[in-house]
Amino acid sequence: MAGLYVIVAGAGKVGWNLARELLEKGHEVTVIEQDRRRYLTVEQELEHAVQYGDATELWVLERAGIQRADLVVAVTGDDEDNLLICQVAKEKYLCERIIARANNPRNLDHFKLLGIQPVVSATDLILRLIEHEVPRYGLVHLLDLPEERLEIIELVVSEDAPAAGRSVSDVRLPEGALIISVLRDGAGFVPTRETVIAAGDEVLVVLDPGLEQDITAWFVPNGGRPD
């Protein structure tokens, strides 16, 4: 992906560092910053690659050359600004690629409603990481595809699990769930109907959202917590 023209709205820490990295990789970048003092600070390093103005105003976007932008990244500290910048970039200037930042994960619904994606939310990412480090109900979410209504979770089979010692065909998971992989002794394999699940196995299950509890009941009945 050489030689993109990228407009970055917001020269906060995210915007500034992003611009720096993109410039280093040889892309053309214009950062737009509406705070005069911040603009002057950033301008000392980025020089002509930063412009002063409110990126939600159409003339400011046009001055930055939005008509020829390959990518618009909206990373200001205000979600409503990021939403609208991306919306006009996409719908008015027909920019094909946009990336938005959601400062408040509660606003993710708004981004979705207005068809703005991908959206990056640091808070949401950190929350997911915390859940990964401290799994609830003994399961880890590996992949969430809400649009496709699909999830992949990982569970470590506990000693007292009903599934331990049973063959896959005897582990009667609800409709919409399937064991897709078993990790045992450091190696993973795709199980057959005859594969016998053992305590200590890590199983990957693909499922429709909402079936987690039925599945943990089979593999980690006490919620994976120490007794």
């Binding site: 003339w59 409503e80 609208l84 719908e91 509660r106 708004h110």
Partner: protein, 139 residues
């Protein structure tokens, strides 16, 4: 009709007051408790006492909008002091809650015009001022 006014500054509070006086059910959402006082003063008596509803909350938060009754609103007026907030919540009212009449206050004339073309009713006080000033100065 059930009228929800989000943002009770000078404009929003006046519109809300007039709507209440005309016999509509009016709910106001604002993050500043001070705006409640403005409503009382504007109305000449207590807002709730006169049948009005008031919710303190941030316009962008869905929960606050729901608490203020967005799901049963017939009319939705986005009149906070932020163009961008108004444009987002007006679209939320229109697309997510299917509110029949949605009006957003947008100070920036160009964006007001563009969003109007996209099917969102926008009122641009700046444009109105420009036209009135021109008429006053040049006839």
């Amino acid at each position: 009709m059930f009228v929800l006014v989000v943002g009770a500054g000078r404009v929003g509070s006046s519109v809300a007051t007039v709507a209440l006086r005309s016999g509509h059910t009016v709910s106001v959402l604002d993050e500043d408790p001070m705006s409640h006082e403005r409503l009382d003063v504007e109305l000449g008596r207590g807002w709730e006492e006169a049948g009005g509803q008031f919710t303190i909350g941030t316009a962008m938060e869905l929960e606050a909008l729901v608490e203020a009754g967005i799901d049963r609103a017939d009319v939705f007026i986005a009149s906070t002091n932020g163009d961008n907030t108004n444009l987002v919540i007006a679209q939320v009212a229109q697309r997510r809650f299917g509110v029949e009449k949605v009006v957003a206050r947008v100070l920036d004339p160009r964006r007001a015009a563009w969003y109007r073309e996209q099917g969102l009713e926008t009122i641009c006080p700046t444009q109105i001022a420009i036209e009135q000033l021109q008429r006053a100065a040049f006839g």
